[in-house]
Amino acid sequence: MKKLFSFITAFSCAAVLSSCGSKNKSEITKPDGKLDPCTLRFSWWGGDDRHEATLEAIELWESKHPDIKIVPEYGGWDGWTEKVTAQIGSAAEPDILQINYDWLITMSSDGKGFYDIGTLDGLDLSGFDEEVLSFGKVGGIMNAVPVSLSGRGLFYNSDVFSSVGAEYPSTWDELSDLGSVFGDKDLYPIDLDIQSGGTAWYFAVVYIQQKTGREFITMDGQLGFTEDDIRDALVFYKDLEDEHVIRTLKTRTDEDGNAALYQSSEFIDGKIAGVLEWGSAVGKYESVLLQGVLEAGPFLSDGKGNNGGWMIKPSLLYAISKNTDHPDEAAAFMDFLLNNEECAEILGTTRGVPASSYAEESLEKNGKLTGPAQDSNEMLDKLDTVTISPYMELSRMKEFYNTAIEAVSYNTADPSEAAHEMYESIVRYLEKIRK
């Protein structure tokens, strides 16, 4: 009996110790250059337009490669990072993943969190600009391939603007003036949020970057703004609320609850006439509008020729799990998603304007390079843009921004107090995580 209890104790200790450590395969499967029959899992987040197009692309792949099945895993952005983090933590992630830019820092800080794509022959990267590819490298290791480059721009409901008799603003002052015009009809020209989008702080950062020429966070994770810059950004945000350009956080929460803007009746019914959104994700807003179409508006300037400060980043990247048993097949599928002409035609601009020149040419040839995402990208190309630091997008950083914005909006702190708190928190945190 004593032996049995010893066995049970030893077994439980072994179970505990083995389950506490990180659970990765001891050896990475090497590519063999062949495509063997297998089943691959592919995960992505997005709106319905992206889901439908991707499922159709998978069908096309399976018709060309009946032996390589793709199991799709998809959903909305809310909670997606948490889901993938849990999967990676338990080595249960899909073979191919659509990843966000900041995940390269959080999930692969040493460049070994994802498969080294540079070792795979099945993926043709000749259609990509070297600079674009560099966004997917960590410590010189190719961890991911950017699907598209994108920036947040302003998109407006054409019907609402026509009914109000307003033009799309091209300067910050013009935007402010729209507050009273729209306010008279109990409408709002745009909306900003502190939820998963975090557009409130983003918009304020653009304004200050344009005004001062300083980057908010540098690519190597240094805070570029001074405490005064942060205070000015918060004052700018508060002014937007006071001038009826955007809803106050209280009104927004009261009207939408915890729902995202594209799911809220206020946007669908046209009470909110504009959004600040990534060109790669604007489709979800387009698809829900009952009346009118969504059109890209000008990137705001100071009216004196300064239109800098607007930001771009790799909107999405594809990565391969380091735990995959089928690296060659995963690379072939990724190549299909990125470069294949027919696939590009199906996917369109649901992930933004493709970074692969092959996919872009295919869309252009077939007249599919149209719509607000493309219009916004063309305007963005003409600006002197700032590349977003992946540090800016970290969840903990977003928490600092949102806390300050909320304090200012609810008047629980004045902009100076909130800026001081935010400045201190950011400096402390960046110091801690900078490698």
Binding site: C20, T81, G257, N258, S395
Partner: protein, 297 residues
């Protein structure tokens, strides 16, 4: 008379008992004890949930002393518990008393009252809550018909807390079923004798029903308190912890630290603090209700 013998399908060796309880033992070791110990070990590391953890002593516990976000979450959790538990106890007892009466279609009512407990805080309930409580929602419209002014349910901290409390209050089924079972166990003779002595319904409730329910009240109180301190789903789905973190519970903080901020070490350390808090509260409840429960022995 011939002695009856029974065959034991698993044999009669000394391991039979252990074999029979082994499914539980294995399940307990793998799915309860293992994560429990793991969590404690991880709480002493700088684990990010992805790379190999490194031991950092009590750093996570020291950090808690100055983490104002954690202090606020603990306050919110206790405020929520203090609001929800007494209300839920009262409502479930009241409904159990009603359902204990001999009325027509009683089984239908029992099922109907239990359904919300099955639904939980799932997506359809969240959407329903949004239709009910957002600006211009059903509750707003109903209040408008009686001339009441608009109430900001989601936007005001206390109101946001109340809509979460309401959601959980609505799910009183399990508590009510335990009360109902206990009510059914009270001998009818006690009420008959009291009635003969001229005792009214209210007096019978306070002098027969409540004393006979003391142990069940304690069980429900403990179960509901534990579940309220562990609350995660309802605020996560309904308010996202807002506004201004006024509905941000300890459960949400642990989840965020673990999965959003990749700070698994800290998340596990905080979950141990939650465990200790629950243990202390239950011990206090046990102590405070000691005399009351003694009285029923």
């Amino acid at each position: 008379m011939k002695k009856m013998t029974y065959s034991n399908p698993v044999g009669v060796g000394k391991f039979t008992g252990l074999l029979l309880i082994s499914p539980f033992i294995l399940g307990f070791l793998l799915f309860t004890l293992s994560p429990f110990v793991c969590s404690f070990i991880l709480g002493l590391t700088d684990s990010d949930g992805i790379s190999a953890p490194v031991f950092n002593g009590g750093e996570n516990y020291i950090r808690m002393l100055t983490d104002s976000g954690l202090h606020k979450a603990i306050g919110v959790t206790f405020r929520y518990t203090a609001l929800l538990v007494p209300l839920k106890m009262l409502v479930s007892l009241a409904v159990a008393l009603l359902l204990n009466m001999e009325l027509k279609a009683m089984s239908f009512y029992r099922t109907a009252f239990y359904i919300p407990s099955i639904l939980g805080a799932n997506l359809s309930v969240v959407i329903m809550w949004q239709y009910l409580f957002t600006s211009g929602g059903l509750v707003d419209q109903l209040l408008g018909t009686v001339g009441a002014s608009h109430v900001s349910w989601y936007g005001e901290p206390f109101h946001a807390m109340m809509i979460i409390v309401l959601l959980r209050l609505w799910e009183f089924g399990s508590t009510m079923v335990i009360f109902l079972a206990a009510l059914r166990d009270i001998p009818r003779e006690l009420y008959d004798a009291a009635k003969t002595d001229g005792c009214g319904r209210v007096r019978a409730f306070f002098h027969i029903t409540l004393p006979m329910l003391k142990n069940v009240i304690f069980i429900n109180l403990v179960l509901q308190t534990i579940s309220a301190i562990q609350e995660f789903n309802a605020p996560y789905m309904i308010t996202g912890g807002g506004p201004m973190k006024e509905t941000y519970t300890l459960g949400m903080l642990i989840y965020d630290e673990m999965f959003r901020f990749n700070d698994a070490g800290y998340a596990n350390a905080v979950s141990w603090v939650m465990f200790v808090l629950i243990a202390v509260v239950v011990a206090l409840l046990y102590k405070l209700t000691g005399r009351m429960r003694e009285g029923t022995k």
